[in-house]
């Protein structure tokens, strides 16, 4: 691997009030940091949609930084708590599709922490140099590795309504309990998140593949690194929902294709 000379591309989402100001302060203080970062200003780190954390990888970034205000400092009170929640769950998604979650880094920088900003960027950049290019990275999941496919599935997962509903509810579920007023065990909640992501992975995988070309259940299973039985369940479900249709039957195996080329967004 050419990690010696490799210069990663890094996208950083910075909130207007803290980390962007901290980055400016690094400038006014003339603190050096590597030139690999491209900052995108948002008013609040809470604006950074899970899809925005995945998309840079699709567009060629090797790492993504999300930097918000320290807890308690959020200009919008709790935006950074939501960010925290979101990044944690996107890490799970990345893990699921076989991308090293270390490529998405979350941290907090105040408007007064120019030096901290520079340090975080430097450290992250070094970590990315060490990891090497995303395109050349090794799979860390069950998938026979196809990076564009993995990322497309990740993007599909985080756009899914079920995923987003769960994500939106997580903090409340954890802190205030369920609608029955019951406390939910943290471990159980974590398991629930993993289960949902695993299931969404199959469903999103099927959809992404079926949107590309007509495929049989066995083909899909081998591309996704899954048991055909599990894939079939989702294919049947999606067929019932009218998202998939049979394209043709080849050697006893029906091949499926998307009815739309859009996917999950139009579900339900």
């Amino acid at each position: 691997m050419e990690s010696e000379t490799f210069e990663p591309k890094i996208v950083a989402f910075l909130c207007n009030w803290c980390s962007y100001a901290g980055a400016d302060l690094a400038g006014t203080s003339r603190l050096y940091y590597p030139a690999n970062v491209r900052a995108i200003r948002v008013m609040c780190s809470g604006r950074v949609d899970p899809a925005m954390m995945i998309r840079p990888f699709i567009d060629g970034a090797d790492g993504v930084l999300v930097l918000g205000c320290h807890f308690g400092d959020c200009h919008y009170l709790t935006g950074n708590y939501q960010t925290d929640q979101r990044v944690r769950i996107v890490w799970e998604v990345l893990r699921q599709v076989g991308v090293d979650p270390g490529r998405l880094h979350l941290d907090w920088v105040s408007a007064a922490e120019g030096a901290r900003f520079a340090e975080i960027v430097e450290e992250f950049c070094n970590r990315m140099r060490h990891m090497g290019p995303l395109q050349a990275s090794l799979p860390s999941g069950p998938l026979p590795y196809d990076l564009p496919l993995a990322l497309a599935i990740a993007a599909e997962i985080v756009e899914g309504e079920r995923f987003r509903w769960l994500l939106g509810r997580l903090r409340e579920l954890r802190e205030q309990g369920s609608v029955y007023g019951e406390r939910i065990d943290a471990a159980r909640l974590e398991q629930l998140v993993r289960d949902v992501i695993a299931e969404e992975y199959v469903r999103a995988g099927v959809q992404v593949l079926a949107a590309r070309e007509p495929l049989s259940v066995k083909d899909m299973a081998s591309k996704l690194g899954l048991a055909a039985r599990d894939v079939l369940k989702q294919v049947a479900y999606l067929k019932k929902r009218g998202v998939l249709d049979i394209y043709d039957v080849r050697q006893q195996s029906p091949r499926y294709q998307s009815t739309t080329r859009i996917g999950v967004d139009d579900l339900g």
């Binding site: 203080s29 030139a35 939501q82 987003r164």
Partner: protein
């Protein structure tokens, strides 16, 4: 000013009130006062002696304690003054006469010849480039460089117009020949005009002390002895050495730099007995910045007392010591001599135990004090105002912005040495006082800003113009700006691109507007500094050219590029191109947004009825607006109830009674004693709050447009020195009360503790230690005040003040000297070895009939001067208890959505330039709730908060930001997740339609709902998914 003529002043106005104000001086104070007035309905004339406004702050490199770049934070204000429809800047001028009475003055203003027509000059600089004279002293660079005869002080100058320096000009005629704008006027002559104004604000600033008068430091003889002003220019990127730390004799980078404090301050021999208040901090800042610019530098600061008394100052000094290795030596430097071969300097001083030490330095910086401007005396005569014995404008403790002549106000260093935030505070305060005086004439002389109608862009694709800034050499010295411009031209939708020396300068604004017309631009991208400071300026520029504010995007190629990749110009250039490409991609998708008009409720909620709250309430009411004044205690007065006299000897209780009497007599003020605010909902212009009695229940629900937080602070209850255990150990405020009520008479029976005349005062009790790493600011002056009081009553009294640093800043220093002259003994104790108060075994006395045995008290302290411990038998021990933030601050902060600082005081929007504002619009701050401060400072801040609040209250409607969330009903499933996530309660579920609805007035534009929405139904206008992803895609 006395109470009587204040009343007269109120009565005088009314016959005729002119809705215009003259501001004399265009430094940061003058600019702030002008902007506050112009933004609350008054016409402002700003008379400036120099060819351009900006004052001393324009010369500074950085500002303490945030190390903000001075020019960067000031330039938006410069530009706003220059562009403001209701501010007329009159440079090169002075006031020569004043007639009339408050409300209706006639001022005579004399303008010197400039020889260049400022209205024609474009500031292109061709004349200066060709001027054959090149050796004129460049005063802006403190004489460290030279300039041509036709010159401009600095590139961001307002007005951006050159001046011919008639004294050095040889009259060759070249500049007229080459000036393409036809701006040169050799026949220009001085002129005089008369202005009719209702009030006058003096903001002349200060002049640095000239150390040439002091033989012992060799200034003027030794090239490597420079003043702090010169050093500031050496540090500045726009200075003579472009920010490289070089010494004047040979251009070498100095290794050892000595800063000598108190040059021209605290020094009877030069006539300046007062402390200049700012030098300890600016020297520390210069040392830190020098270290940043040249890491090998070893700075040493020679000082007498470390006067880092302001908010966040002590922790700055700690950082200077621990992180930057700045060495601090407590001494008075006796002599400086030169080593002729090297031009190095030998500094001689006595160390703390009296040994003479010499040390060699490469460069010596004299921390020169602040003197009143030389023109102040003449101006005072012309205006008929009194100056004090040092030449600063005379004011009262309770009237810090009022001169002796009604209708003439003062702010900034002209009133006494002070730093930038104090100046800005006083400036707003003076503006408020002037506005109160002229409230009836508000709006009578102003012009409204009218914009051309927005261009109809329907059916027109994006046509993007890109303007890339060199920022002098800040960007251009690192990034290949021409290459970035070339690259920009190749980007989709870009139809025009150019580069500018300063894209923020006034002439470039005009240029951008011309280019918008010329090329039919529909979107503008500026690649320069940070949108956090400059976006509003450019948005205004394009709006004036008929483009919606939001059709603008910025690429930050300075703060986040050239400044941090200085050593990698190629990578920096690549990054700058990428950033421009991202901004262009974003710009292509931008849509016009609407700034919703929000009607303003013309009343204020003021929380806290102490000095700050009452002062602010009276100001707001005098400006003609209703006030709800909420006080937790049963009676008004707060902290002031426990203060009896001031350092200057004024009767505090009399002033307090007068304040309360005036509050009672003011029909626009509603007082809610014994009440607290339990709920605050809404936003700037439209708050709705609940006021409840302390015990519970509901007193009132009020609607108001602004909030002023003036909740004060508490006094630390000492937990050591036998306080609370021995009745002879009391606090300074308890001593003051005993003195004022006659319960203690020195020389007779002291309190109830027996005969005694020995008082030991211990400073910094609860301040500058442990978690409270801040200075309580007023305790040194309190101790001096009470010590003088005791001495006056009994000259034989023995008074000891045990201190760490005496921080009698400004003219308070004079009282410190008086106390020393009166025989008060000041003993410095080391930080790590505080004094010990202990009972001594001895004959026990029965006391007070309670039968409690009390032995003698003794205070043991290590005297750092003697280097040994001394034991002082004390009749009374007086503790300077810290000022501590209220516990209730946290709750109120949450209610108002405003932050607290590390120590629990309220945190203002910007430490330097927005000292009484919160980041949350419509909420302001005054008094001890902000930080410890004295009476005069509290009054000034209260005036300021009121003035700032009235800039909102005087508007009929405010325009909200256009960045708001919006629901696409067709996609919304009504799940309600956005309702839960919104912290501003701006979203409601409409159960009939089963969709979410957003209240645009409440929406703050954070985007949490958009990022949460499970069906992509919510869009944050201005930061849409598409716009952000376009940036991602452009990496």
């Amino acid at each position: 000013m006395t109470l009587d003529n204040r009343d007269n002043m109120d009565n005088d106005v009314g016959a005729k009130s002119v809705g215009a104000v003259l501001v004399v001086g265009g430094g940061i104070g003058g600019m702030q006062a002008a902007l506050d007035l112009a933004n609350s309905g008054f016409k402002v004339y700003m008379v400036e002696a120099k060819p351009a406004i900006g004052g001393a702050m324009a010369q500074l490199d950085k500002t303490f304690p945030t190390n903000d770049c001075s020019m960067c934070i000031m330039s938006p204000k410069l530009v706003e003054c220059g562009r403001h429809l209701n501010i007329e800047v009159i440079p090169n001028s002075e006031v020569t006469g004043l007639d009339g009475s408050p409300g209706d003055f006639t001022v005579t203003v004399k303008t010197r010849a400039r020889y260049i027509d400022p209205h024609r000059c474009t500031g292109c600089g061709l004349c200066a480039e060709h001027c054959p004279v090149s050796a004129a002293r460049d005063a802006f660079n403190a004489g460290l460089s030279s300039r041509p005869s036709v010159y401009i002080d600095y590139p961001q100058a307002v007005p951006l117009a050159y001046t011919i320096d008639r004294e050095t000009c040889i009259g060759c005629g070249l500049c007229e020949n080459i000036c393409m704008a036809g701006a040169v006027r050799y026949d220009d002559a001085a002129s005089t005009r008369e202005l009719n104004v209702g009030a006058i604000i003096l903001a002349l600033g200060f002049e640095p002390y000239d150390p040439g008068q002091m033989a012992e430091y060799g200034y003027g003889r030794y090239p490597n002895v420079v003043t702090s002003v010169e050093f500031e220019r050496i540090l500045s990127a726009s200075g003579p050495f472009e920010g490289r730390v070089l010494r004047p004799s040979d251009g070498d980078i100095p290794r050892k730099i000595a800063f000598i404090q108190c040059v021209g301050s605290r020094d009877r021999s030069c006539g300046n007995e007062y402390c200049s208040s700012v030098c300890c901090m600016y020297a520390s800042k210069e040392a830190v910045i020098a270290k940043e610019h040249a890491p090998g530098v070893e700075p040493t600061i020679f000082y007498m007392d470390m006067r880092s008394y302001g908010k966040g100052f002590d922790s700055y000094i700690e950082r200077a010591k621990s992180e930057y290795g700045v060495r601090y030596i407590r001494t008075r430097v006796a002599d400086i001599s030169e080593v002729p071969e090297t031009n190095n300097l030998i500094v001689s001083y006595e160390d703390e135990v009296g040994r003479v030490v010499t040390e060699e330095f490469d460069l010596v910086v004299l921390s020169v004090g602040l003197e009143p401007p030389k023109s102040a005396a003449g101006l005072a005569r012309a205006l008929g105002i009194e100056l004090d014995e040092y030449g600063f404008a005379r004011t009262g403790t309770f009237d810090p912005v009022e001169t002796s002549r009604p209708g003439v106000f003062v702010c900034g260093a002209m009133q006494g040495p002070k730093d930038i935030p104090e100046t800005v505070t006083q400036a707003s305060g003076a503006a408020g006082a002037a506005a109160a005086l002229l409230a009836s004439a508000r709006g009578s002389l102003v012009r409204e800003k009218t914009y051309p109608p927005e261009k109809d862009l329907r059916g027109k694709g994006p046509r993007i113009g890109v303007f890339v800034c060199h920022c002098g050499i800040n960007i251009g010295g690192v990034v290949d700006v021409p290459a970035v411009v070339e690259y920009a031209r190749t980007l989709p939708h870009v139809v025009y691109a150019e580069r500018n020396l300063y894209t923020c300068s006034q002439d470039t604004q005009k240029r951008i507007q011309e280019k918008i017309q010329e090329h039919g631009l529909t979107r503008v991208v500026v690649a320069s500094c940070t949108p956090r400071t400059h976006e509003p300026l450019f948005q205004e520029t394009i709006r004036e050219a008929g483009l919606n504010h939001y059709l603008f995007a910025m690429a930050n190629i300075r703060d986040q590029c050239s400044w941090v990749h200085m050593h990698e110009p190629e990578l920096a250039t690549e990054k700058a191109k990428d950033l421009v490409r991202m901004a262009v991609a974003r710009a292509a998708l931008l849509e016009p947004l609407e700034r919703l008009p929000i009607p303003v409720k013309h009343s204020a909620l003021i929380i806290g009825g102490g000095l700050a709250g009452m002062t602010a309430a009276l100001d707001v009411a005098r400006q003609g607006f209703e006030v709800h004044l909420v006080e937790r205690e049963g009676e008004l007065g707060g902290h002031l109830n426990r203060i009896y006299f001031t350092l200057k000897g004024e009767d505090v209780q009399e002033r307090l009674r007068d304040l309360i009497r005036r509050i009672d007599g003011e029909p626009l003020i509603h007082v809610y004693p014994g009440c607290v605010v339990t709920e605050i909902a809404g936003y700037v212009g439209n708050f709705k709050s609940k006021i409840a009695p302390v015990g519970g229940g509901i007193e009132a629900e009020v609607e108001h447009g602004v909030v002023i937080v003036a909740t004060g602070a508490g006094e630390f209850k000492p937990d050591k020195y036998l306080y609370g255990e021995d009745p002879r150990v009391i606090t300074q405020s308890e001593l003051e009360e005993l003195l004022a009520t006659g319960k203690i008479q020195p020389g007779s029976r002291a309190a109830s503790t027996g005969t005694g005349r020995t008082f030991v005062m211990i400073q910094c009790v609860g301040s500058r230690e442990g978690e409270r790493n801040y200075c309580s600011r007023i305790c040194c002056s309190e101790a001096v005040k009470n010590a003088l009081r005791l001495k006056a009553a009994d000259p034989e009294a023995n008074i000891y003040v045990l201190y760490r640093d005496i921080r009698t800043y400004g003219e308070r220093e004079v009282y410190f000297q008086r106390a020393r002259a009166a025989g008060v003994v000041f003993i410095r104790y080391p930080e790590d070895e505080p004094p010990v108060v202990e009972p001594v075994a001895g004959p026990e006395v029965e006391q007070g009939g309670k039968g409690k045995p009390v032995g003698e008290l003794r205070v043991v302290v290590r005297d750092t001067l003697l280097g040994s411990k001394v034991a002082i038998p004390a009749d009374m021990v007086v503790l300077a208890a810290a000022i501590v933030p209220n516990d209730s601050n946290r709750e109120l902060a949450q209610m108002l959505k405003v932050p607290l600082d590390d120590n629990g005081f309220f945190l203002e929007a910007h430490m330097k330039l927005r000292p009484v504002d919160f980041a949350t619009e419509g909420v302001f701050l005054a008094g001890l709730a902000h930080a410890p401060k004295s009476i005069d400072e509290t009054v000034a801040q209260a005036h300021a908060a009121a003035a700032r609040a009235c800039t909102v209250l005087s508007l009929e409607e405010i325009r909200s930001d256009g960045i708001k969330s919006e629901v696409n009903k067709a996609r919304c499933s009504g799940c309600g997740m956005c309702v839960d996530v919104c912290q501003y309660k701006a979203i409601e579920l409409d159960f009939k339609e089963r969709v979410a609805k957003i209240n645009a007035a409440l929406c703050k534009g954070c985007g949490a709902c958009a990022a949460t929405c499970r069906c992509g139904a919510i869009t944050l206008k201005g930061f849409t998914d598409e716009e952000i992803l376009a940036e991602v895609n452009a990496i």
